[in-house]
């Protein structure tokens, strides 16, 4: 008997939902101001995007997030329309979701390992995170976490970047008394002086930081530890039981080529500090910022993109801004999205080009950058093909403003005044990755001061790990 060949009913093929794009303001409009470029999801877009999550039992996305946010958990709440519940879920492990949702390199972290990415574009985890955090804040529904009874212990947190803020948040929850020491006049570290307003509005950073103030953190601004007070004084004279150091990597690197001290040549830190921290783009603020007609930005990381796009906004439409980078396009370290936005805004890319000297006029103002063409040779230690100068290819690029964005290193105030804190030859603190323990008892460190320039969320991850270790240390002391 021949098996009856039954035709199977056609499988109900679920329409696959495409990844929802986040609305973005058109380039010609956004280069006229410093308002945010990306507008965020609407409720509808968020609901649709959330449906793309498969709620997989193995949820690899969680492992891809340095602070292990319960991603399927919060996305599930979004599908139910409980946006505030979703925000609270995220805040169990991440104090700054509105920040991370905006600046995290999601494509290399949570979204890279998302199961959906195997067949389609990954779930827009970052966009959803941003949406629920914004929703919570706009609804005024920000809740303070529960705080344990006072432990009687005092902890000093040095530096108020993402790592320091995270440590403070966790330790306050555990009932410890926390004092934050910050050298600048505003809390937030790179989030306030580096990353520009159009990518991360400062009011959002302030709102997220407000939580730790409400939780009772004592804030001491204008305190440069290593100068105003030393680590030893904090521990021996001021009665702190433990110290966390999250002072970042704030020292700008230069090319060290002739003419680099001419007027009009600044580090990206200087340029961005003038614009962001000192709000030079706003009429009522007096700090000057100057952008000529031709701007050259040296480097191609996130910082270079931020500097280039800020320069375009300060200089105006007829200001020509170019990136000068010694390697090739696919070696640029900036996030793809940032490069894309920069291109849309008319930033020019001079790739495989390396500056050799700067040339000024009789007033010592920079006028030209002499560059040399590069070609790619064998791969170097970083695995990238090494750029080699092409002999005789020197040429001139006119520039009346130059911004050098070559990366940063830690400053040495603390290392110099705390001899038992050991550092590497680059000035980063030697600290245990899992616990943030340094070579000095009771002193922990994390973020860029340990890793060198990295990311916001890695700094926060390090902060969480250190807070856990500090809690254990304090329990045992």
């Amino acid at each position: 008997m021949a098996a009856e060949k039954r035709s199977r009913p056609p499988r109900q093929k679920k329409e696959r939902i495409p990844r929802q794009e986040m609305p973005v303001r058109p380039p010609e409009e956004r280069i006229r101001d410093f308002n945010e470029v990306a507008c965020g999801f609407t409720e509808e877009l968020a609901l649709t995007e959330a449906k793309r999550c498969l709620q997989c039992p193995t949820h690899p996305c969680v492992g891809g997030c340095p602070v292990s946010i319960d991603i399927p958990g919060f996305i599930h709440l979004v599908t139910e329309g409980d946006f505030i519940g979703a925000a609270h879920k995220i805040k169990e492990t991440n104090l700054l979701p509105a920040v991370c949702g905006r600046v995290c390199p999601q494509e290399e972290q949570c979204e890279q390992v998302c199961v959906v990415a195997k067949i389609d574009k990954p779930v827009g985890i970052g966009r959803l995170e941003r949406f629920v955090a914004d929703y919570e804040r706009e609804q005024g529904a920000v809740e303070l976490p529960e705080i344990a009874p006072p432990s009687g212990k005092k902890v000093a947190v040095v530096g108020s970047g993402p790592s320091g803020i995270t440590v403070a948040y966790e330790l306050l929850q555990a009932g410890h008394q926390v004092t934050i020491f910050e050298a600048l006049h505003t809390l937030g570290g790179v989030l306030v002086y580096g990353i520009p307003e159009f990518r991360l509005p400062k009011s959002i950073v302030a709102a997220e930081i407000e939580t730790i103030k409400k939780m009772g953190a004592e804030i001491k601004l204008d305190m440069l530890i290593g100068k105003t007070r030393t680590i030893d004084q904090l521990m021996e004279e001021d009665g702190f039981d433990a110290v966390f150091i999250g002072t970042g990597a704030g020292l700008p690197m230069f090319l060290n080529i002739p003419g680099e001290n001419l007027n009009g040549i600044s580090s990206a830190n200087e340029f961005l500090t003038r614009v962001n921290l000192m709000k030079a783009y706003r009429e009522e603020y007096v700090t000057p910022v100057k952008v000529g007609k031709r701007v050259a930005v040296i480097g191609a990381g996130n910082v270079a993109m931020d500097a280039a796009r800020s320069a375009k906004r300060v200089g105006g439409e007829d200001t020509e801004v170019s990136i000068i980078y010694r390697r090739a396009r696919d070696q640029m370290p900036a996030r793809a999205e940032e490069i894309h936005h920069a291109e849309e805004e008319g930033i020019i890319f001079n790739l495989l080009t390396n500056p050799v000297r700067f040339i000024g006029d009789d007033k010592n103002n920079v006028q030209q950058v002499e560059c040399i063409k590069m070609e790619l040779g064998e791969p170097d230690e970083s695995g990238r093909r090494r750029p080699i100068p092409i002999e005789g290819s020197e040429h001139i690029i006119p520039a009346d403003t130059v911004i050098v964005a070559l990366g940063t290193r830690p400053r040495r105030f603390i290392a110099e005044t705390t001899p038992d804190l050991k550092t590497s030859k680059w000035g980063t603190f030697l600290a245990d990755e899992e616990t943030g323990k340094t070579t000095k008892k009771g002193v922990f460190a994390g973020g860029d001061i340990v890793t060198g320039s990295a990311t916001v969320i890695k700094a926060m991850g390090a902060g969480r790990a250190a807070a856990k270790a500090i809690n254990e240390y304090l329990a045992g002391s």
Partner: protein, 280 residues
């Protein structure tokens, strides 16, 4: 907030403030400075700590109105408060017993010079101070300097007080007289420090200058205060403000001071316009 407990106008456009800043007062050493941000919209302005009282928790600064921000600071009154005072910044002056030292200051540089002269005197040096000003009205800290100097010479550009002429000429005179000078500290307008460096160079008299580089943060983060010293680039706020005057590229510093002239002039125009409006 950092309360102003005392304000005193020393000379036209030169004002002394005593400000509550206990942490700074406790930590500061001669030669160090603070960065003051007077109000939310203000610039961060570097100013030398002239004196301090760690018991009262106060520091003194002397401000000369050079442009918009220093003018703004000088408008603050006793009882008001500055929004931010950060410090002490920079390396303290290296003080030891050199023997005979000449402290030569010009203009408001005298304010910066005073704590250093005091420190040098306390360390046992014979201190000759040359206090230069444009005219009699602008001579400041005469009494204080008198106390810490073995010899105080005052010069004015117009001869209205003391010796007529520049301090650097007096210094040259001392050298020509064959006075033994072991160390020179020069603080004042960049051009004056440059001239002093040229005076002492042929005699190889160790000379330091305190640079008034343009600064923003004052903590080594922005690099605007870069200065070429010999064949090295240093940050004045971290590695200075004092450097070997024979190695500093003063011309580069002078050029830097003119870079924002236009923007500063625009700010000043605003003040003048506001003042005129008030008058009418």
């Amino acid at each position: 907030m950092y309360k102003i407990v005392k304000k005193k106008v020393l000379a036209p456009k030169i004002t002394r403030f005593t400000v509550e800043a206990p942490e700074v007062a406790r930590a500061r050493k001669p030669g160090q400075f603070v960065v003051i941000r007077a109000e939310e919209t203000g610039e961060r302005v570097p100013l030398t700590i002239v004196d301090s009282d760690s018991e009262k928790g106060t520091i003194d600064v002397i401000v000369q109105e050079a442009g918009f921000s220093t003018h703004d600071i000088c408008c603050f009154q006793e009882g008001d408060a500055f929004l931010d005072v950060l410090g002490p910044l920079g390396k303290p002056t290296h003080i030891e017993n050199f023997g005979t030292v000449v402290c030569i200051g010009g203009g408001v540089g005298i304010a910066v010079l005073y704590p250093i002269a005091k420190g040098l005197k306390e360390a046992g040096n014979t201190v000759i101070t040359i206090n230069g000003a444009r005219n009699k009205e602008l001579v400041i800290l005469e009494e204080e300097l008198e106390k810490v100097s073995d010899e105080l010479i005052i010069t004015t550009d117009d001869g209205s007080y003391g010796i007529k002429g520049f301090g650097s000429t007096v210094l040259q005179g001392l050298i020509d007289e064959g006075r033994k000078i072991d160390f020179v500290v020069a603080i004042g307008p960049t051009i004056m420090m440059k001239v002093v460096a040229e005076v002492t160079r042929p005699y190889k008299i160790p000379t330091i200058a305190s640079l008034n580089a343009i600064m923003i943060d004052g903590t080594g983060m922005c690099g605007v205060c870069r200065v070429t010293v010999g064949d090295e680039v240093k940050f004045a706020c971290v590695d200075g403000p004092e450097f070997d005057a024979h190695l500093v590229n003063f011309d580069e510093q002078i050029a830097k001071h003119h870079y924002y002239d236009h923007e500063q002039a625009c700010q000043m125009e605003k003040i003048i316009a506001a003042a005129e409006q008030e008058r009418s």
